[in-house]
């Protein structure tokens, strides 16, 4: 798909979120909202440690998870923090199922919902293996005229764009720029993967601490993430699927079946016409 951009194509970029230095400050959540004008998502105290955002959604494109581990008298306490985001999968099911052409692969290799095209059909929502993409059930707010709230429900789907507009201006995405400790790193995906390997080696040489990469492998079920992670525990601990698979994996086969069926249908219709002319 990147090929379709010809000379316009850019090096594929993404995020490497290194949770071993995440301090859980949530600057990424706010930076994202400030830049992308994502609406406030309700004042709900959850009691889930310091996480009152709970999950990624239409109004939360960065989400910091907080996981408290260990008992003080038994072993050392651990408080895992990790900033989750759309994975910008190499094989993105949301993209495959979008009937309107709203979801596209950009020239940077990222996956973006085009808000001027999306009609809110919602096919992409169940397609995402991570539950990232989500419909917005809030009054529609059309930037830049932010204060003018129309009564109509938005209804479209929203998610991280990897700050498509900022990329076009040569700026790094808002969350990566804000991140105080460089837990969120932005760059060409190949560089990030290399950097991540080195980081993992270093951590493993020190004291492993459960460090592992998640989503860096191009051979995994989604062809690798454009936004991958260094975690300090099993992905499930962070609420991430251990072995995500692109939900449209069987699509090519389905296309064949559909083609045969379509062929039969056309033949049938043609036969009917032929018959009718008799």
């Amino acid at each position: 798909m990147l090929d379709s951009y010809g000379t316009e194509a850019k090096e594929r970029v993404g995020f490497f979120t290194d949770t071993s230095v995440c301090i859980g400050c949530k600057a990424c959540e706010v930076a994202c909202k400030e830049w992308n004008l994502v609406p406030e998502d309700g004042l709900v105290w959850t009691g889930e440690s310091y996480d009152n955002t709970s999950e990624l959604g239409a109004n939360t494109w960065r989400h910091v998870a907080f996981i408290e581990q260990g008992e003080p008298e038994v072993d050392a306490l651990r408080w895992l923090m990790s900033s989750d985001v759309c994975k910008h999968c190499t094989h993105a099911a949301c993209l495959d199922v979008c009937p309107t052409g709203s979801l596209i692969r950009t020239e940077y290799g990222t996956v973006v919902v085009q808000e001027d095209i999306c009609n809110g059909c919602g096919y992409c929502v169940p397609a995402c293996p991570f539950g990232v993409i989500d419909k917005r059930h809030l009054p529609r707010q059309d930037p830049p005229a932010l204060p003018l709230i129309t009564k109509k429900e938005d209804g479209r789907v929203w998610k991280c764009t990897l700050c498509y507009d900022r990329l076009k201006g040569g700026h790094e995405p808002a969350c990566a720029k804000a991140c105080p400790t460089d837990s969120i790193q932005f760059g060409p995906l190949d560089d990030l993967r290399e950097r991540a390997e080195r980081r993992l080696e270093k951590l493993q040489a020190q004291n492993a601490n459960g460090a592992r990469l998640y989503g860096n492998d191009p051979d995994d079920g989604v062809g690798g993430f454009g936004a991958f992670f260094l975690l300090l525990d099993e992905p499930e601990v962070y609420g991430l699927p251990p072995d995500p698979v692109v939900t449209t994996r069987d699509l090519p086969g389905m296309w064949r079946t559909a083609a045969i069926a379509t062929g039969a249908l056309i033949a049938g219709v043609a036969a009917a016409f032929v018959g009718g002319s008799r």
Binding site: V30, G101, R105, I117, Y164, K177, A178
Partner: protein, 189 residues
């Protein structure tokens, strides 16, 4: 929109022409996406500022469009913050544009049960007069022991740690001139 443009943008033609038969890349790109630019690029001007929250003093870049702050982000030039901001600093634009911000003077008369309107000019005039009157009524030239006092103990001023140095300077200077000694700020609180 002229007709050829409509035809040119017709999805099937674009998919074929742009080598994107599945229509998941360039061919599917909308007009908005094609024209997308970061809004900072459209700013009328940018000023270098400093975060108003804690005392780390992170550098901020304030983008202005049509006389309004359109965005605030970290100033990469700062050796302190290197362009980074915490959630509060990052929320500075929303702070400046808080839905709860007040832009009118509010006045509550003694024993009053509601706010009333008051012009800024009248408010300034009334506050100046209150200070003069309270000060005159409570002036202490000497203490009970007969030591010099030169002060009023009936007026206090609280605040300063969120203000600029220049503002603090004027507050202290004015209070010394007026004999107001109860001048305090968050440094003690």
């Amino acid at each position: 929109m002229n007709l050829p443009e409509v035809v040119r943008r017709w999805p099937v033609l674009r998919q074929l022409r742009e080598g994107d038969p599945l229509g998941l890349g360039r061919a599917a790109r909308s007009r908005r996406s094609e024209a997308l630019k970061p809004r900072n690029d459209a700013a009328d001007h940018v000023v270098q500022s400093v975060c108003p929250y804690c005392a780390v003093g992170c550098g901020q870049l304030v983008y202005v469009k049509d006389g309004e702050v359109s965005h605030i982000e970290g100033d990469p030039a700062s050796p302190i913050s290197r362009g980074r901001l915490c959630p509060k600093g990052q929320a500075s634009k929303s702070f400046v544009h808080s839905p709860l911000r007040e832009f009118k003077v509010k006045y509550r008369r003694p024993y009053g049960t509601r706010w009333e309107e008051l012009s800024l000019e009248d408010a300034m005039e009334m506050i100046a007069q209150r200070i003069i009157d309270t000060r005159a009524a409570s002036w202490e030239e000497k203490t009970e022991e007969g030591n010099p006092a030169n002060r009023t103990m009936a007026i206090g001023n609280l605040g300063g740690a969120t203000l600029d140095n220049e503002e603090n300077y004027l507050i202290k200077k004015l209070c010394v001139g007026l004999g107001i000694v109860q001048v305090e700020n968050q440094a003690r609180i």
